[in-house]
């Protein structure tokens, strides 16, 4: 099963441990991970279901290119990491 992990910049707002999830795509993996910490969804995705502009999602260390579709296929053992992209002052 893929693993989904959220960076401390996110888990300081909404605690959520790294999880193994039964999912075949990135969107279903994120959905499964949010089931463990429902408020986290609105930190990572906007209300249209797209990854927020200043959040970055990596699959096996490659940043995803499309913030809206999230249809990247996942295989057993793939690692999804969600981080805070750096902005602001």
């Amino acid at each position: 099963m893929p693993v989904v992990e959220f960076a401390p910049a996110l888990t300081r707002h909404v605690p959520c441990p790294a999880q193994r999830v039964a999912a075949a795509t990135l969107r279903s993996a994120l959905d499964a991970a949010f089931a463990a910490a429902p408020p986290l969804r609105a930190y990572v995705l906007d209300e249209q279901g797209a990854v927020r502009k200043h959040v970055a999602v990596f699959v096996n260390a490659q940043m995803i290119a499309d913030r809206a579709r999230l249809d990247v296929p996942l295989a057993d053992g793939d690692k999804v990491v969600v981080i805070q992209a750096l902005t602001g002052g």
């Binding site: 209300e47 249209q48 279901g49």
Partner: protein
């Protein structure tokens, strides 16, 4: 006035008057951008709106005077229709900023950027987009004034009838509902947008009212700090009357209406659209006591040289009895007046940029 709430770029502060002295406490939400704070006029609950740079807008509520905060729902748009082409509606249906927040009996109104108005009947546990305003065809003519998109910053709930709500949109004019959001009318007649092409300057739907306020005791008297100057209406906004530009400037963002006297209001002038700084480095507050025919300029206690503070649209507030005011600046100055704006006491030079203040 005993308490002032200060929403800043780096947290929510509360200033309290104790034994005749104002003191600032430690911030709630330290380091987080606070865009709005509301002390609900009917149930006393505190609400704060955050704009987390990375993670969207969030709202928190405290029912014990700020000791314990609980997360509540934040306004969110419904799914954007899949058949809306970018040309037809280029506005993103995602809340970027909670810009205005006000309470009526058993309800909350939130004005956002993009310019959605949201309503809650359950203390912020859920929010509903007011589709009757959002779906108006005129909404697609609105445009951003300083931001990429239009936003709703001012919300006035009529003390005589909470179904009557007036909102101001930058840039989309002044809109009113008399049936709690079932239907709306644009009420910006008389306003003039000098920066527009000549044919559109008096278009009510593209005006940029930086801030509106009403006299609580006479809500048909409205005041507006407009992008192009000052206006007053004494007929509930059906017609806005321009006010002759006072010294040192008619440009600015904030206005506070006296809660009891419909002839009185305070403004904070800045140099101009192109120079959003005080005139000649002097921070002043302009007050009219005669409906805008004349103004007194107050500077006592405010920086009078080499000062570059700007006061944003929500950063001037008056106490419910009209005796005291609070004012905060983008460079972190906080001042309080306990003599109706004539003289000011500096509480801090050193706060983060201030977005909003509220008076008890």
């Amino acid at each position: 006035m005993q308490t002032v709430w200060i929403g800043t770029r780096k947290g929510l502060f509360v200033a309290r008057r104790d034994a005749g002295k104002w003191t600032l406490g430690k911030p709630s939400f330290p380091g987080e951008p606070v865009t709005q704070v509301l002390v609900h006029p009917h149930d006393g609950a505190w609400y704060v709106a955050l704009r987390l740079g990375h993670f969207g807008v969030k709202m928190w509520k405290s029912t014990d005077g700020g000791s314990l905060w609980q997360p509540i729902a934040a306004p969110a748009f419904p799914p954007k229709p899949g058949d809306a082409s970018p040309q037809d509606d280029p506005t993103p249906w995602t809340v970027d900023l909670i810009w205005g927040l006000e309470g009526g009996p058993g309800e909350l109104w939130a004005g956002c950027l993009p310019a959605g108005l949201f309503h809650s009947r359950d203390g912020g546990a859920s929010w509903r987009l007011v589709r009757s305003l959002w779906d108006r065809p005129e909404r697609k003519q609105w445009f951003g004034g300083g931001y990429d998109h239009a936003g709703i910053h001012s919300i006035l709930v009529d003390p005589r009838d909470p179904k009557h709500v007036t909102v101001a949109v930058s840039c989309g004019g002044v809109w009113q509902t008399r049936d709690r959001g079932e239907s709306w009318a644009c009420t910006s007649r008389g306003m003039v947008a000098e920066f527009m092409p000549p044919e559109r300057r008096e278009d009510p739907n593209i005006q940029d009212p930086h801030r509106i306020d009403h006299c609580a005791a006479r809500p048909d008297v409205l005041w507006c700090q407009h992008h192009g100057g000052l206006y007053r209406s004494d007929d509930g906004g059906l017609q806005w009357q321009p006010i002759a530009p006072p010294a040192p400037s008619a440009f600015g963002f904030a206005v506070a209406a006296h809660p009891a006297d419909p002839q009185r209001a305070w403004f904070v002038p800045a140099h101009s659209d192109a120079q959003r700084i005080p005139v000649n480095g002097r921070v002043v507050v302009n007050e009219t006591r005669d409906g805008g025919r004349s103004f007194a300029t107050h500077g006592e206690g405010l920086p009078q040289h080499d000062a570059y503070h700007l006061v944003y649209r929500h950063a001037l507030a008056v106490s419910p009895d009209g005796s005291a005011l609070a004012m905060g600046s983008t460079t972190g100055g906080l001042w309080i007046s306990e003599d109706e704006g004539r003289s000011w006491l500096c509480v801090s030079h050193d706060l983060p940029p201030i977005a909003a203040v509220r008076c008890s």
